[in-house]
Symmetry: C2
């Protein structure tokens, strides 16, 4: 409910709601994809899973992020199995799905595209390939482009060095915002066809025209329109896109998806250089299972409780195990967010629960360590110092959240902010436990927390001058 | 910087930025105000203070909230002292001020208004009286009204029963959005003149016209335009306004300002029925001093530290004093926000600091109570339970703030939310200390906190379904 609202708002701000934008996408999913058959034998290529989600589901999700909810999918090879899979996806995601079977799919992608003509009914729409991994920002650019006296738009990439497989790419000769020539074999070209089109009725007329002449490629129709000066190029250079049609491209797609996971996360030092590299590998494995982010959150919390139990015991080897568990839980705690982003199943309430259980997990571990220290050391200050440290762990998180709530913008990701994060604190506790001095680690981490809070209060006060 | 930004955004959303809106206000401040002279003998009436701020400063601040930054103030009686006072206000608040002295001010407010004609230079502007206490929402309504074939707009109130001093009011006969008649003595009337006008050049022409005929009231000019069907009524019924020209009206203004302070605050049970009534009386006193909200914040924090020191001691009477101090600090902690709103000197960073020091104050008091209990009771669970309680006090605040940050909307102000607030917790600690059982109170408050957190996690999870 609220995520829809936000998406609409975002579009209103960024995407000029007054301009017309397509609300439907045609996805060509008819081909056989023989070069990918090894991955999931017998599965139609659009349903081959990439890090837990079918290729075509990723395509549709990227469209949804650009505000598209209605999909016309053209099927061909293994169309009954494909349609069953698509219906599951549509039901799970709440998409409006319309499948069109194209018996002549093997002739070419132009034949497939033409099969969608009736369902499109002349509307302004996006036209994409099921097996292209495309970031939503690219689709957004095409959706928000203005029509300039054209019958088709094609998203093109002019950074030819960055194209993954230059031998396979469809070549485009662009002049200003006009496409002059398009084809696999043209000699003079300055851009690559990304496989993302925007079209209206006239493209289907052009498809009919070239098919009457025995040519069944989508680019044949675009070439026809280009010859008439009616094919418009939309420059999407800098956006990510990839034609996943070979095992090498599949591996590259995996690599890119994993790399995109850490974008925009605010990692502390330990997270960035120790936890994240491990949690990403873990997530790549978990992605292929039905495990949900909330389940990971709960497991990480239970691991912290287990670690607390071990750290409360008097045996050194239990501490070592407890310390290792703390660090493992700290690492695995990155996986819930990673899986949520990777499989597009994140929820705000899940993130809320995660944060709260993190605080309670820290509290349990700290309580256990201080409890054990109080048995070990006869000193009246063991507990008071432990209490202040435990409070510091929570307040360290509280101080910047309260700042964001009050100001409406975040306290910067500076050294103070990174030093007071959970990743470093838990590593300190884990290392302390393994070395036999968990309580000392609690005191050090607590002192660091309070010092960072003091620093953030001072710096935040300056930064928020006039607020 | 950020507050300006927000104001601009607010205006864009609520006030239709595309429509033209006035950016300058003419404020008539020339009169003698003899009936108010008793309050601050020798002070020009616009500078008489109402809960710490000169009347005219409140008028200007209400305009600023409606997006107005430029002021043309017409002076007369005691004009040099008034101008000096105005310049101080303008410097403090960053207003663009232009003072115009009107030697003929004693003839009538129409003469004063005409003196502003040159400075207005034909612009669309708000015209107000210095001594009218007007809520910014009323000015906002006048600023966003559309001109309908008129030369002047007058904000009118049709709820005649709610008018404070019906004998003094200027009467208006309104028909649709047209003013038919206006005057102190007209027989048939259905609305009251609130003293807030919006005008352009033609009003000044009308003023000249009536003055040539020997009439010097602003309403004479409005009556002239009304006779020509060129005077428009803007219905502001429901908005607060008050002509502060008698001691009775001054007391009423004070009452209304104090009553407005609790609007929109999220008070717990103890706050609403015990703390707030006391803190409001305190704030009414503090308002007349130069004490700032941040100073109050610091003093409340120091009182909590002092209370902690007393509660850590072994003497019962020190506990009683400590408990009373805790409750007093809890009450006084409401004053910083009240003074900030009352004197329009609130800051977001001040609110941030206040919240952080509240948490540290609670921590100090809890630590002191648990420390004393650990000396008194020989039981290994005194400290662990105290630590968990202290963490609960912080987490109780954390859980709803994290909710607001994640969801972008607040967890509702339900019973769970009210029971876990600081007002109740501190009253419990204070009562416990006075009764001789502060540690028991810590445990009860801690248990209540954690139970409320659990309840909020469960209810918030349901409320955020789909988020």
């Amino acid at each position: 409910m609220c995520s829809d609202q936000q998406r609409t708002d975002d579009r209103r701000v960024h995407g000029r709601a007054d301009a017309e934008r397509p609300e439907v996408a045609v996805i060509l999913a008819a081909g056989e994809g023989s070069r990918m058959a090894a991955y999931e034998p017998g599965t139609p290529k659009p349903l081959i899973k990439l890090l837990g989600l079918p290729l075509i589901e990723r395509t549709m999700l990227a469209c949804r992020e650009a505000g598209i909810r209605e999909f016309i999918v053209v099927t061909g090879y293994e169309h009954e199995r494909l349609q069953a899979g698509l219906e599951q996806i549509a039901a799970r995601r709440g998409f409006n799905l319309h499948c069109v079977f194209c018996p002549e799919w093997s002739k070419g992608n132009g034949a497939s595209a033409l099969a969608a003509a009736e369902a499109v009914a002349g509307r302004d729409c996006i036209l994409m390939m099921a097996d292209h991994l495309v970031e939503s920002g690219l689709i957004e650019r095409v959706c928000t482009a203005d029509w300039h006296d054209a019958d088709v738009m094609l998203a093109v990439d002019t950074d030819l060095d960055a194209v993954h497989d230059p031998d396979e790419v469809t070549r485009v000769a662009v002049d200003g915002d006009r496409i002059r020539h398009i084809g696999k074999t043209i000699e003079e070209w300055n851009a690559a066809d990304t496989g993302v089109f925007r079209c209206r009725g006239p493209l289907f007329d052009a498809l009919r025209e070239v098919q009457a002449a025995g040519r069944f490629g989508l680019s044949d129709a675009v070439q026809l329109l280009a010859g008439r000066g009616r094919a418009q190029a939309v420059d999407v250079t800098g956006c990510q896109w990839l034609d996943v049609d070979t095992p090498a491209a599949y591996r590259e797609a995996k690599r890119r998806l994993m790399a995109s996971l850490t974008k925009g996360t605010q990692d502390g030092f330990v997270s960035a250089y120790l936890n994240r590299p491990v949690s990403l590998r873990l997530s790549a494995l978990i992605a292929n299972t039905p495990v949900t982010p909330n389940q990971i959150t709960i497991v990480c919390f239970l691991l912290m409780l287990l670690a607390a139990g071990l750290l409360a015991s008097p045996w050194y080897w239990a501490w070592v195990l407890g310390g290792l568990l703390v660090q493992f839980s700290s690492i695995a705690d990155g996986c819930d967010g990673e899986i949520a982003r990777l499989k597009h199943i994140g929820s705000r309430r899940g993130a809320w629960l995660d944060t709260m259980l993190d605080r309670y997990g820290d509290l349990a571990v700290t309580l256990a360590i201080v409890w054990r220290a109080a048995q070990r050391y006869v000193c009246p200050y063991v507990w008071p110092a432990g209490l202040v440290a435990a409070a510091g762990f929570i307040l360290a998180s509280y101080v910047t959240k309260e700042f964001a709530l009050r100001m409406g913008w975040s306290y910067p990701d500076d050294v103070l902010n990174r030093l007071k994060r959970r990743d470093l604190r838990l590593l300190a506790l884990a290392a302390g436990a393994v070395l036999g001095f968990p309580y000392v680690a609690v005191l050090l981490a607590g002192a660091l927390s309070h010092m960072c809070i003091a620093g953030i209060l001072a710096r935040g006060w300056m930064l928020a001058r006039g607020c």
